[in-house]
Amino acid sequence: MLLYAIRRFGLALLILIVAVTVMFLMIRAVPGDPVQIMLGPRATPELQARLTAELALDQPVWKQLLIFYGNLMQGDLGVDVFSGRSVTAIVFDQLPHTLALIFASITWSALLGIGLGAYAAAHPNTLIDRITAAISVSFVAAPAFVVALLSLLIFAVHLQWFPAIGAGEGFWGRLDHLVLPAFAIGLSWVGYIARLVRASMLEVMGESHIRTARAFGISERRVVMVYALRIAILPVVTVIGVGMGFLLSSAVFAEIVFARPGLGKLVIDSITTRNYPIVMGSVLISTGLFVASTALADLINAWLDPRARTAD
């Protein structure tokens, strides 16, 4: 297991380096002078030249890349040229908001999705199963931004059950502000997880150990909940790990629509203003999160199912 973990995290590190390097090259390939955008039209040529040198933008791209990694090795993500604040501070200011949103989204969608999928698998080809299937597919098909806007209009404006914007203050305030955005970006995951669990459980239910359990007279409820579901949720763990990347991208629009602070919005704002230090800092952290969560999901899978350790 230890060897597997070392191999898996080694691969994760390699993926991170490649992803960050590609992003570094891509952002520099985009047309537009970042200094001009940062300083606006009124900056003097001297000031523009000074900032260009400060950001090393007058250097060849390969050299800029080396400088970036050199600084990174010293834990320096640079300084936001607009505010003069440390990029690390800015990114870590925003990160908890995004993590909270992702965690809330995946938690409620996993709980509901697993429940729906398990129930449907326990009652295959019944009316309940068909209704569950219809609901699941509808959830998967519902575009998250439409869900976000509709939920805002219904639950914030009309019913006024939940706040429309911001991240709130204090524990309950923050929880309150999470409900609608987490609902919006988690809804499609409910359907997806439900379908996944149902398919997985039906497969498991046909296996010999389930038949043996039934033959021993164990109640159907116990067979489903204990023997089948615990195997069937294995793919969900992987899906949740990989889903971190998708949730990060979903968080972007949720943060815009709900005017929430967060990493996604920070990245978008930074790209449009060519704020290189913030872009690279945000990308590094978000890519790191994605890669780490995928690796963690693989490790959990390998831990739960020892066959996975030797699969690759």
């Binding site: 985009v30 047309p31 537009g32 002078d33 001009q36 955008i37 300083l39 606006g40 039209p41 009124r42 900056a43 003097t44 001297e46 000031l47 000074r50 607009f82 505010s83 003069g84 604040r85 800015i90 200011d93 925003q94 996993a110 709980l111 509901l112 999705g113 697993i114 429940g115 729906l116 398990a118 805002l152 209009l153 914030a156 404006v157 019913l159 006024q160 059950w161 939940f162 706040p163 429309a164 914007i165 911001g166 669990v197 909940m225 204990v226 579901l229 615990r230 949720i233 815009i256 629509v257 005017a259 929430r260 602070p261 967060g262 919005k265 920070l266 449009t272 060519r274 831990w303 739960l304």
Partner: protein
């Protein structure tokens, strides 16, 4: 640091049991009550379209920062809320133009800085203004101070602003806007000369109580403020860049004041929820179609005139601005010296005249590229222009660009037609500054070169005679239009809504002057 690894008590089987239990507990009851909507009496919640960048006026990025600066600092003079551009006294007890290059002032004696930095003195004014123009400061806002030479301190609270040459925008930009904010010399020197995002010392009717990046800026009453008491105990400024989100927040009762989208104006004209009010202000932005005079395809003046006459401005505004914006007559907005009552080319298209001009030009099979930003308003406007130019046989290919690529167009030799929008501060000098010969290759994308225009720009800024300035700037816009390089479209509009309990204080372009906001 030594890290102790301990083995968790949770085994694989235990985890599986737990996960199974979680899966079984799928549906949780949710008891949802109704959300109380009552606004907090002493708190005003307003939307800003972006987040604060700098607390230092020398490095302010514009109106977003200035909304906060104007509340926590003082200036000698501030903009006066209303429909006409005007100023009123703030930290100045007296201010007068001695001669064209000397402005005498005396400070009020009841303004102090927080954090123990003492009373506001003329030394603070001198420090604040001179550091803006000091090369060592590298302030991007330096041009706003124009030809400031220095400030003579003649008493503890008295001094004279000395200019190198006359500068009319001193009264409309330099003093009442970003660069006019007076900071504490002692505080700034103690901090090494620069502030980033935390205030070093404040003096206004409000103090910045907190700032949560991308989330909220909170202003609280300054308990030591001796001037007219502000109406609100607390002002919360929420950065929301999307207007539709802001509208939803307003309708949900979470905002008291916000700019709204032009597309929603008609809806709000029919009624604002919660007894609120819609106010429509013109904006200082100016939007136009530019033609690159240096491009081989646009050398023929008759062709350029044909394009001017073939663009139907009302149709563009109806489609792109939902009919909520008026046609513009140039780059200088209504209410400012130099605003022209009408343009040389009427806003309505004259297709017959345009066709005649095209025929006179001798150009056939004209195909042009129109660059525009990837914003719905601009792409819609570009499509209408494309359609109207097609009526006289000119084919337009719309080239939609992301903001970074678009704003790098200054040195794009292939630029042909461009749909553009610049913002400005309330002085005509600011508008004309981008179209001088000196700006070719920078912000003068049409490559418009006109010695008379350059002369007007240089001389009108030095005049204090408003009538003369008015005449000169009108002539400058005539010259732009006569070149055939410009088809002026609109100054857009600033529609805002406010809740029933709020009396907004706005500049004539609809921007908020928070310190003056009142209660109904």
């Amino acid at each position: 640091m030594k890290i102790e690894w301990t083995k968790t008590a949770l085994g694989r089987r235990g985890f599986l049991k737990g996960a199974t239990a979680l899966g079984a507990a799928a549906v949780l009851p949710a008891g949802l009550g109704s959300r109380a909507l009552a606004a907090e009496g002493g708190t005003l919640r307003v939307r800003s379209y972006g987040d604060m960048q700098s607390i230092d006026p020398a490095f302010s990025k514009g109106v977003i920062d200035e909304e906060i600066h104007a509340a926590i600092y003082n200036k000698l003079i501030q903009y006066k809320p209303g429909r006409e551009w005007d100023w009123q006294m703030d930290a100045a007890a007296m201010i007068e133009q001695g001669d064209e290059t000397h402005i005498k002032f005396a400070l009020r004696d009841d303004i102090g800085f927080t954090n123990g930095f003492g009373a506001m003195t003329a030394e603070d004014v001198k420090f604040s203004f001179e550091r803006i123009v000091d090369e060592a400061t590298d302030s991007p806002n330096k041009p706003d101070m124009g030809p400031l030479s220095h400030v003579d301190v003649t008493g503890e609270r008295e001094g004279t602003i000395v200019l190198k040459e006359p500068f009319a925008p001193l009264w409309s930009i330099a003093l009442p806007y970003i660069t006019g904010n007076i900071v504490s010399k002692k505080a700034w020197e103690a901090a090494g000369g620069k502030a980033t995002t935390d205030p070093l010392a404040e003096s206004g009717p409000y103090l910045r109580a907190s700032w949560s990046p991308k989330e909220k800026t909170v202003l609280k009453r300054n308990p030591d403020w001796k001037g007219d008491a502000p109406a609100w105990d607390t002002i919360e400024i929420l950065p929301i860049d999307d207007e539709n989100t802001a509208e939803i927040a307003f309708e949900a009762g979470e905002l008291d004041f916000t700019r709204v989208s032009l597309g929603s104006v008609q809806r709000y004209r029919d009624g604002v929820p919660g007894g609120g009010t819609l106010l429509e202000y013109p904006s200082l932005y100016y939007t136009w179609l530019g033609m690159n005079l240096d491009h081989p395809k646009l050398q023929n003046p008759k062709l350029r005139q044909a394009i001017q006459h073939a663009i139907d401005v009302p149709s563009v505004l109806e489609a792109a601005y939902f009919g909520a914006a008026e046609p513009s007559t140039g780059i200088i907005a209504p209410g400012l010296a130099g605003h022209r009552p009408q343009s040389l080319v009427p806003p309505q298209a004259d297709f017959a005249k345009a066709a005649d001009l095209l025929a006179d030009s001798g150009e056939t099979n004209v195909t042009l590229k129109l660059d525009t930003l990837n914003k719905t308003t601009f792409t819609t406007a570009a499509q209408v222009i494309q359609a109207t130019l097609a009526q006289i046989g000119i084919t337009v290919e719309v080239n939609v660009l992301e903001s970074g690529a678009f704003w790098a167009s200054a040195d794009n030799e292939d630029l042909q037609l461009v749909l553009n929008r610049y913002s400005m501060t309330p002085d005509p000098y600011y508008a004309t500054s981008w179209f001088t010969t000196e700006q070719v290759g920078h912000w003068n994308w049409e490559q418009f070169r006109n010695p008379e225009f350059d002369k007007i720009h240089a001389e009108a800024a030095q005049l204090t005679d408003v009538a003369k300035r008015d005449e000169m700037y009108r002539r400058a816009q005539d010259l732009m239009e006569e070149s055939g390089a410009y088809r002026f479209l609109t100054h857009e509009a600033t529609p805002v809504v406010h809740s029933a309990g709020v009396v907004p204080a706005l500049r004539p372009d609809g921007l908020a002057l928070l310190r003056y906001f009142g209660k109904a």
